[in-house]
Amino acid sequence: MNGLLLTTQQALQLLLSGDAELWSIVLLSFSVSLKAILLTTPLALLVAFALNHVNFPGRRIILAFFNSLLSVPTVVIGLFLYVLLTRQGPFGNLRLLFTQSAIVIGQMILCFPVLVALGYAAIQASDRRVWETARTLGAPTWFSILTVFYEVRFGLLAAVLTGFGRIISEVGISMMVGGNIMGYTRNITTAIALETSKGEFAQGIALGMVLLSLAFLLTAFLSYIQGKKEFTT
């Protein structure tokens, strides 16, 4: 018990002293995951919209496919991407393996179905009259889509935050296609795994605290958004 208290104290000291190594890992994590979520969101939300508003054969199957991808283990995506990006793989000549770009691609694959499924649910909860009213008032297709997105903005924001929470806390993809290279591809989760395996618990706990704080913040913000949504409807 004393050991745990001592390690937690050391972790707090590391965090508060502005330890350069630790904070560079935190920054790298945020930078990579923000890129992934920003690149994925527009296309994923358009797919969610199309699944809601466009009638085409196989629509239900595609939706079921995205829903089933919600529970795919991150190591499986990491493995799949590793096979594609390895020197002998079909995209080996792009030399993306063990780069930040590889992690971004992996995290994009991970959060895409989350954004589609949750975005679909948010748009489905919206009133069909939003789209019809926008169209009949002369709005072009793209502006009508934006109008629908604006009317369900709280639900969509919740989807984006959930997707971000999923990718910043994943370890499988980052470890397999990032390679955990210090100062280049080492992020919060891979650093925790490494430090723990070395018996260096202080840095692991400090990084864990950052992730936990982020989780609490995201949950608090989601609750706030939920409250706002109920208030405005």
Partner: protein
């Protein structure tokens, strides 16, 4: 009688195996008001949504200003010239003013002209005092007036109203009727669906009844364009 603005011929529509509309013809004339009656589920709303370009018919021939057009070509003119108002209007998040101004951004008016139009439209409908109120917090009757104003400001040639007075009290109905009379006097063609034709006495020129997917003229009433 002047030339019709739009002619819809042979409209057909089915949902699953249920044929909702069978060879329905509809002629829309300027400054004329059609009242559509029919049982719930008879296809009134579907017919209005097809005419508004919001539902695709299985079959239909469309004439616009005397020219025969395919559905694909007609849809552009339909969305430009015809506005459909839901039974319960959908007002976007934001103020009454922002709702009224919504469609103006797709016109050629500049910012100053748009602002002037909004002020004039709010005065026209007596909504000036409510301009900055959140639109979706208003009562049903006032929301319907906001929806009328949002449509009127765009000066459509045809206005389609689905049960516009179903949730209104007597005073709101009178206000709405007055606005509709003014719209008709301004040359708009109006199509209204309603279970209570008496609400539109003095406004309706012709009444049709929709039954078994077919439209039949049921009554003529005197036109009153004095308002």
């Amino acid at each position: 009688m002047s030339e019709p603005l739009f002619v819809f011929r042979g409209i057909e529509k089915s949902f699953a195996k249920n044929k909702i509309l069978r060879k329905v013809d509809l002629f829309l004339y300027p400054a004329k008001c059609i009242l559509l009656s029919g049982k719930n589920g008879s296809g009134k709303t579907t017919l209005l949504k097809i005419v508004a370009g919001l539902e695709k018919p299985a079959e239909a021939e469309i004439e616009y200003s005397g020219k025969s057009l395919s559905w694909k070509k007609a849809i552009r003119n339909i969305l430009k010239e015809i506005i459909y108002l839901h039974q319960q209007p959908l007002l976007f998040s934001g103020s009454v003013e922002s709702n009224v101004a919504y469609g103006l951004r797709f016109t050629s008016l500049n910012r100053k002209q748009r602002r002037e139009s909004v002020i004039k439209a709010l005065e026209w409908s007596g909504l000036t005092d409510l301009a900055n109120i959140q639109a979706n917090t208003l009562s049903g009757g006032v929301q319907q007036r906001v929806a009328f104003t949002r449509a009127w400001i765009l000066k459509p040639k045809v206005l389609l109203l689905d049960e516009p007075m179903s949730n209104m009290d007597h005073e709101s109905r009178e206000q709405a009727r007055l606005l509709l009379c003014r719209m008709k006097s301004a040359g708009m063609s109006i199509v209204i669906t309603s279970h209570v034709p008496q609400y539109f006495d003095g406004l309706t020129d012709v009444q049709f009844h929709l039954s078994n997917g077919q439209l039949a003229e049921s009554k003529f009433s005197a036109s009153n364009d004095s308002l």
